[in-house]
């Protein structure tokens, strides 16, 4: 009895494995806003992770002595650094707001489909607003 159950289970497992779509064309799938938001959450997380050494270097520079502080301050004047910082600011804002959304979803706040959709749009919008605000301030 148990044996037959086990073989059935392993057979269905193999079946699922074989039936997995390969080379799935991502463009054929319609992504809802919350899916795009989730991808953005991951992408911004990776972005922030990779930018850590640079900001560690700047922090260390700014705290060593007065000259280092001025050097770190001057670093932000470069146009490329400004653009990079804007990207990081967007990443941080997006990660921040979508993180708060996930936190609320964990407490079943706004869990139904309609409000989840609305909050996803709101989070995207907040991220872009922060991005635009700092673009105006920095550039």
């Amino acid at each position: 009895m148990q044996d037959s159950q086990q073989t059935a289970a392993s057979e269905s497992k193999a079946y699922i494995k074989n039936r997995r779509p390969k080379n799935l064309n991502l463009l054929s799938v319609k992504f809802p806003m919350s899916a795009i938001l989730s991808v953005g959450h991951r992408a911004s997380g990776i972005l922030l992770f990779l930018s850590l050494p640079y900001f560690l270097y700047l922090l260390q520079l700014s705290l060593t002595n007065e000259a280092g502080f001025l050097l770190a301050k001057a670093e932000f004047q470069g146009p490329l650094v400004k653009l990079f910082c804007l990207l990081i600011i967007w990443g941080l804002a997006h990660h921040f707001f979508s993180g708060i959304r996930y936190f609320l979803l964990d407490f079943d706040i706004g869990i139904d489909k309609n409000s989840a959709k609305k909050s996803a749009v709101l989070v995207m919008l907040c991220g872009f607003l922060v991005f635009i605000f700092f673009s105006i301030r920095l550039l």
């Binding site: 991951r42 997380g45 990776i46 922030l48 992770f49 850590l52 050494p53 560690l56 922090l59 260390q60 700014s62 705290l63 002595n65 007065e66 502080f69 001025l70 301050k73 941080l92 921040f96 993180g99 708060i100 936190f103 964990d106």
Partner: protein, 116 residues
Amino acid sequence: MSYQAKGLQAWLYQRLTGAFMALYIVYFIWVISFSESMTYTLWLEWFSHPLMNTATGLFIIHLAVHAWVGMRDIVLDYVSNDSLRLLTLACISFFLIIISLGMLRIFFSLALTIQA
């Protein structure tokens, strides 16, 4: 393989560290944006204040835990080759340990210099 944090535990770590870092970041940006002309003395004073120094130390540890759980989840999702997975995870943990030790060193030495 559990990679040191599994299921509910990892989920809880992610939320708690995220909540702490969110508060810290809001405070940090608040101070930065209301001090138009930040000077070296003010900057040093701010980071050397016992509360800020401790909070920053905690932030570094929280950041390492948060980044570890997040990056681990991503690697587990997308890297299916076992040896490649182990290699990426090893690189990520090495990277995070170096970064957080480097940051903690800066802040500990800062606390010591102020005392002296």
